[in-house]
Structures are given as C-alpha cells and as structure tokens.
Symmetry: C2
Subunit: 383 residues, 2 copies
C-alpha cells in the first residue's frame, strides 16, 4: 500500500540485477489520473546527479505521470553517457505507458561515479512495468532501499481523500534534503501550484530540518503527484497540514534509521529573534562532532552546546543562555545550574532545549549522535 | 628553550594540583624587556571564556609583560566568580613581577564549566614564579598540554634575532583558531602595530587554515611578545616571513597530534576566482564527515569531494571539476578518470587537489580523518 493507498496509482518493485545481492532495485509509481498535477523539490547541491538534471526539466510544467527509481547506482558524475542512460530509461517508461518521456521523473541512489549498465536498467523498466499493481507500494518502497535497514512508508487519511508516501535515506541527511528519495501520492484534487506551495511548506519544517551528519547529497528528490481520483478538493490548509504530517512522519523514520546512530537528538531553540535564527542555532549544535560524540558517550556536555551557539550570528547575550538536556536545566545564564548527573542519556531519544531570550521564535532541528558505527559504515562503504 | 630561546624571556611550568594526575598544569612566560610590544588574536567564538574576556582588555594597548597559562580547567561558563578568579591570578602575577595586572595575559584550557580552586591557582602562581628561568621554555610547553600527546615547540632563527614558540591543542582546531593556546616570543625590535600586522598575516595562512573537526573553542589565544633584547630591527617582511614559518610549524604539530587521527589531509584548491573561494571550497571538504571517514577507511572516495564542493557558492562549472588524491587525477571534468586503485592511502599524509578552473587563486586547508579513536576520545572525555 502506501504510495498505492490513494486511488489512481499503481506501483511495483523488482530486482534488475543492479544490486549485487539480488535484492529488489528498481521501482515504478504510475499516476493513472484523471489529473496529473505534481510538485518536486531537489537537492540544493550544485553538483547534481544526472537523474536530477533530467527530472528538473520534467517537473517544470507541473505535470508528472510516473516516477521511476533505482537503487544500486546514483548515476552521478557519470557524464553525458550517464545522462543519456537516464533519458533512455524515461523513454522506455513512457513507451510502455503511452505517454511522453517529459512526464517521467527518474531518481537514482547508490554509489557515486558508478555507471550502471543501460541494458540492465532498461530490462528493469520492462520488468517493473509488467509487475505494477494497485497494491505494489510496499515492494516499491523496498526496492529503493540502500543502507536503509527498513522500508519507510506512510499513509495520512483526509476527509474522503488520502495521502501515501515512501522514502529512502539513511545518511547524508542534511539541509535542503540529502540522499533522500521520497515519492508522495494523493487522490485529492490539488492544482500543481497549490501542491508546490504545500510541498515547500511541508519540507521546510520536516526534511529540511534533518541534519544527520551535515553532508548534502547530489540526488535528493521529493516528488508529490495528485491523481484527483477522489474527486474531492480539500481546503489548501487541510491538505498542507496532512502533507506536512506525512513528510514529518517519513523524516522521523529516516532519522531513526540513520547509519550507525545510537540516539535521535531533537535540538529546540526557544525565544529566538526569528525562526531563521532559531534554525541557525539548532543547526550549529547539530553539526558539532564534539557534542554528537558526547551524546554517544551519554555525557550531558552542555559546554559543547554553548560553544556551538557561540559560532552563530544569532541575537543573544553570551552571558545569559539557558540550556536543558532531557528537561534538566543544566545551564542557566551561561553558568552551571542543575546537576548534569540528573540527565539520563541511555534512551535513544534525546532533547536539547536552548533559550536565547532574544525574541519569541522557535525551531527544532533533528540530528543523530556520532558513533563508532557511523565511522565504520562510512569508512567501509566503498567508493 | 623555545619561548626562552630569544633573549629577554624567562619561563617555567609546575604542577599546582589542577590536574588529577599530578602533572604540570601552570605555566608562566615573562618578558623582561627592554621592550614590551605585543599582539594577540583570540577565538572568534562569541561565547568566550573568562580568561579571554580578561585578556582582550589587557592586549588593547599593545603592551604585555607576562602570560600565565593553566591547563586542568578552561574557566569557561563559570560566571562572574570565574572572571574574578582570572583577575586574581593576574593580580598575583603582577604583584610578584612588580608590574600592573593590566599587562598580564591569562590563558586557561581544560574542561568547560569547571571552576578551579582559586587558592590552587594562586598557589600555582607563586610556585611558577619562583621556578622561572631562562631555560624554562620546555617545562612551560609541557604544563599547557591537555589531551596533547607531545609538547609543541618551535624556534626560527633570524639575522641576529630569533623567534621561539609553544602551543597546545589537540582537538577543536577550527577556523579562527580553536582550543589552541600559543605563546610566541622574539627578541627582535618590532612595534606593537607591526607585530599585529605580522601576526594576522601569519595566523591567516596557518592556524586559521587548520580545521580538524569543524568545532571552534571558547578559549583560543595566540600571543606574541617582543622584548627587543637583540637590539635589531628586522625588515617587517623578513619578520613576517619568520613568524609565518613559526606559526605554520606549530600548526602542523597541532594537526599531527589531533585527537584520534590516523591521517593528516591537505586539501588544496587551485584556480579559484579568489583566495577566499579557494578556502571556502577546501574547508567544505575538510568538514565532510563522509569524506573524512572514507580517508580513515583508505577509500579514495572522490565523489564525496565533489558533493562537498557542490555545497559552496564558489565560482565553478559543476560539469568541469578535476580532483586528484595523492597526485592521481581520479576525476577529470566531473567524471571518473585515472583508476582510484592507484591511490595509496596507507601513509598518514594525504593530499587532495581540486582544480576549479575559474581563476588563478589557491589555498590549502588542513584536516584529519574521522576515526573510531576520535569518537572514542570525545565520547569519553567527561564534561
């Protein structure tokens, strides 16, 4: 189910031989209409993979009829040959569906610099097209996994309409998305421009506020397609709220499955002069290797929090900062307060709360701890 | 020797009980003149430790007659009481030397949020003053070590004048300095304003281009004192060159002793539109945990280099980037070139060269790999 939960969609996931393990590695999600509205956001990385270079042309007119995804190779830094492979894949999908290739988004994930066999990919298109069905969502979600340990899926129910989604990503979760592929479907009637506004609002407070390891990928794509098959046009605010719920749910699934992490850390900055400054402060802490290693060691090292805050340009008085960890205010007015030994960091979920006393804006950024397993996975994952 | 190599200086390092191990933990460097010119740069962190808050007032008039340093406690986030401790230490040093406390720089390093016993520190002042001698430089260098495994010292010989220096720091080496205390002495005749210009020029291309783990400390201080005891006034360019050599030598010693590191990585960006952009690009790679973990795993993962470059705003064509590792051009025009298996990453020294093809400026930033030992040390180092 999931991406095939809303009416009007079929999907499938099959093995095309791109993964040496023989696991599923290609997926297809098809919108059968009656409407084909869509919106997409891509990685902000300037060095974009070939599927992103192709797909950003596809999405310009707000119409997307199918999304093809493969794991087992990112098709990034593979040059004009790699771009032609993406184009050939889109053409083959379009041919099967009787549509134009310019309505086919292509997403790839896996190793960078690796050119997959074009023939393998085209055979995969044939196979996944043949396999698609109205309950193929789970297999599609499985086929896009790389170092993910579990498939990520979500369903949100509206008033007579629904949203379904799937995601992959287990590292490089960083601002403006990162090694993250997300496909969201809905049977609500939503225009492309409304979808775009809703998607930007939803990603701004979900995927954009994940910062697992500060690294930004080259392939990230979040696409939403609306079939209109429910015949119902929800108020935009209702739809945006549901879409935000779906994106936040998927984002938390990504966070919890981050490579090698022992803890999920929510860093909330309160009473900032602006939301942007609250994000800047929270993100600076999320990027501190020293702080993240301390959380791994279950050490409530609030000094490393203050040292990170001090690197930002946000409005605050350096002598009047409060910091809590798991609700214990270990620092008040920039000096030690409650006993840090009261902070129990044995559970996976950790909260850090920072009071800047400079305004009334707030924001939360989510990150993971820095662990031996993170170093191990990312030193062993061959280039 | 080292800080006591130039004429006009005495120094000492003794144990004052601040370190639980009983190792040396307080140091004193005294300038006996005839001149007392000085220049200092501090951490850019807005959350500054008490010794920095004190010392930045001391250095304003360009006159410094003594530097007192302690390890075993950073006196950071310790509030007004901590500031008074720093002040009391400066007063005690001044009393012993018959000078004003406003000519005494104080530096502290160690745990944040920890208030050392003021009595212990004052006793330390008494002891270190009594111990000072014209060959106490090595003991002073030893007394400022924290997680450093070796003392860092340097001597540079000029034409009838010399420069000596000592440094500590083994983590949080980041832009604009980081957990780094450096004292440099010279017997050349150099005015305070010339010293300031020379020091800024020297640190800009040495300490400021170390980025061990992206974290910036709260206590960093680099002070240079000129006694004029040689009676020789070198050309400013000669002095600046020698000072740059001293700072670069100490910076490389810091890099090689970085906590838990297996590799020293020099990231050089060539043909940038400006030196600032070359630094920005090199630093973005130095900050990539994924790239640094790959080097630890001896994996020449140039895709992670390109992905980092893509996060910057520097001028370049994303489709026309060249990257070499240890001289092997593994990427040309953003596609695979020479065989990455030719890159041998078994030695500690690694070079990454990036050709932006956008101008004629260049810069090198130095970093370390991300290792199990880094995570271990920084998760175990208690708050």
């Amino acid at each position: 189910m999931t991406v095939t939960h809303p009416a009007g969609f079929t999907a499938a996931g099959v093995a095309a031989g791109l993964k040496s393990t023989g696991a599923k590695d290609v997926a297809l999600v098809v919108n059968h209409g009656p409407r084909f509205d869509s919106a997409t956001v891509f990685t902000a990385n300037r060095c974009k993979a070939n599927p992103v270079l192709w797909s950003r042309e596809v999405v310009k007119d707000g119409t997307v009829k199918a999304v093809f995804l493969n794991s087992g190779g990112a098709n990034c830094y593979t040059g004009p040959e790699g771009f032609q492979t993406t184009h050939a894949v889109a053409e083959r999908v379009a041919e099967h569906l009787g549509i134009g290739s310019i309505d086919v988004v292509v997403c790839s994930t896996g190793l960078i610099g690796l050119a997959n066999s074009r023939e393998d990919l085209l055979d995969g298109v044939d196979a996944v097209h043949a396999a698609q069905s109205t309950d193929g969502g789970a297999e599609a979600a499985e086929a896009i996994m790389t170092t993910d340990s579990v498939a990520k899926q979500v369903v949100v129910e509206g008033a007579g309409w629904t949203i379904g989604g799937m995601a992959k990503g287990a590292g490089m979760l960083a601002p403006a998305l990162a090694t993250m592929l997300v496909v969201i479907t809905t049977d609500a009637v939503v225009s492309a421009s409304d979808l775009d506004a809703a998607l930007r609002a939803a990603t701004r407070v979900s995927f954009d506020r994940l910062d697992s390891d500060g690294c930004m990928s080259t392939n990230d794509t979040v696409t939403v397609m609306a079939s209109g098959a429910s015949g119902i046009t929800p108020p935009l605010a209702d739809f945006t709220e549901a879409l935000t719920q779906a994106c936040s749910d998927l984002a938390m699934q990504l966070l919890k499955d981050a490579e090698g992490a022992d803890h999920e850390i929510a860093i909330t900055t309160l009473n900032a002069a602006s939301e942007d400054e609250a994000v800047e402060v929270s993100r600076s802490v999320a990027r501190s290797n020293l702080f993240k290693a301390a959380v791994f060691g279950q050490d409530p090292n609030w000094g490393r929090v203050l040292a990170s805050i001090g690197t930002t340009q946000a409005a605050f008085d350096p002598a009047d900062l409060d910091v809590a960890m798991n609700g214990v205010w270990v620092c008040r007015s920039s000096v030690p307060a409650e006993d840090p030994s009261k902070v129990d960091l044995s559970a996976r979920e950790v909260s850090v709360t920072i009071d800047l006393k400079a305004g009334d804006a707030r924001a939360t950024v989510w990150t993971n701890d820095l662990t031996h397993a993170y170093v191990h996975e990312n030193s062993a994952y061959s280039s």
